[in-house]
Amino acid sequence: MEYEYWPLAKLRQELDDGEVSSVELTKYFLERLKRANPELNAFLTITEERAFGQAREADEFIATAGANPALCGIPYAAKDLFLTRGVRTTAASKILDNYIAPYDSTVIKKLDEQKAVMVGKTNLDQFAHGSSGETSAYGPTKNPWDKTRMPGGSSSGSAAAIAAGLVPFALATETGGSIRQPASLSGVSGWKPTYGRVSRYGVIAMVSSTDSPGAIAGSVKDLALVAEAISGLDPHDSTTSPVEVPQYSKLLNPDIKGLKIGIPKEYFIEGMEAGVEQSVREAITELEKQGAELVEVSLPNTKYGSLVYAIVAPSEISSNLARYDGIRYGHVAKDAKDLLEVYQKSRAEGFGDEAKRRIMTGTYVLSAGYYDAYYKKAQKVRRLIVDEFAEVFKQVDVLACPSSPNVAAPLGKAADDPLFGYIADQLNIPGSLAGLPALSVPCGFSENLPVGLQIIGPQWGEQKVFNVGHAFQLATDWHTKHPKT
């Protein structure tokens, strides 16, 4: 039997019926990913022993009477930004090369409670700084559709792992495009939650005001199941919301007749690839065919999103990455002669160029004399972006637009371009700055490479974006296309 690309509900049924055990599934996916990984470089750590332990527990649980949690016994991968107790957690950086997490992130804990089975930790842009996967200290992940190309980033390994059918679902994180953009470039479905919907506790911090742990999977239906499992209030993260978590998967409703879908004209930017625009326009026409009402809307401050982010993100990064000092954990320089040198040399040796660039940019714009001109100014322009979205969601239910202006670029394209990420993510960043939920779903191909449709909702509007994505996937088969392996 071949289990790759099975919907989570079908795996659940098979496990519940006793047709396959969790140990067998785990063995199947571990073998599959070990075979594929040397070429794809999607995994940084494979947690075989831990996985079989969890799988045996899941099998014992399934054998007892009563219903099983939706993800019980199902293998998954976690981006190596999620702390996993007793397991190496690197953020794809050398500064955390030998770091063994002493506790679990809340999301991992929630999946443990469901008795899901973690088989490994996936590659990413170092500290999630990047949009290509290329800033990883452990080499770039390859795009399974064309191994000379990038899978997108920063959740590069999670996107590639789903595209290649190496796991049924994967945890990922977004700060400004890190789920939607790789999902788009890798031809898979990705969910970026409302800010505060999913706990950030135990997820290595990047930009605390936009960091949003989420997931990548084979379909919107699968994402709805994972969303139910990992969302909710967490006393360890005071930015999580008491807003109730709906049963997204049970409430999934593909009837979008009369739903108002806004088409923001500024998201069809000058210079976007013609094939991408065509696929996205056709996808939007499909939504109209399903009965949705299309409304052209304008979000004129979209163009400032990446500029605001290029100030706000490095600012928060410079603060969040101050903790890597060579004292409590992580890499320490061997030949430092005093405490100042311990800091300076450990950080110089441990951080990659992109992290250094962002830390220094943030340090500069927050420093005396520049704070008002840069940081404060950016946070005010951010207000314009937040308000403009709030205004548009008074007129429409969701927005539909491209996830990325282009398909996957050749590997090496991002190398040493200090603006690569800000430009690559320009269609994702405004929504991140406003804390909005969004999806990217496969909607076609351009030059044989996947194109993604982005669906953005108002805060806490997960159900609406899931419904639209689900309706689209019931009417089309783009999400069932897979690369040859």
């Binding site: 107790r85 007793g86 030998n98 063994i100 002493p102 506790y103 409302t194 800010y195 505060g196 005001s209 005071s238 930015t239 919301s241 400032y304 500029l307 605001v308 290029a310 100030i311 490095p314 410079s318 101050a322 060579g326 004292i327 409590r328 954990y329 992580g330 005093d338 405490l339 100042l340 040198e341 800091y343 300076q344 950080r347 110089a348 951080f351 250094k356 660039r357 830390i359 220094m360 940019t361 500069y364 420093s367 001109a373 840069y374 100014k377 950016a378 946070q379 005010k380 322009v381 951010r382 207000r383 314009l384 937040v386 200090p418 603006l419 800000y422 700055l433 406003a434 804390g435 805060q459």
Partner: protein
Amino acid sequence: MLTAEEVKKIALLARIALTDEEVEKFRLDLTTVLDYVDELKQVDTEGLEIVSQVTGLQNVQRADEPVMADNIEEIMQNAPETKDGYYKVKAIL
């Protein structure tokens, strides 16, 4: 254009040692980023409040009660140097 002196000052504040070659590289990179964001200066933001929290939560608090950690050994195992259960650092004075 940033000067080499400015880059060295930033690097000192950020506690990152740079070689002369890196100073030059980051001087160009940071200048590129600062030029990129320059357009924001033209945006009219008169009277706007800064954004500090997007979902509107305010003053979320919890009881200030101590909790005993069950993973002190695991935490300390990650330290490059320890002595008698404490982190070891170079002399400050």
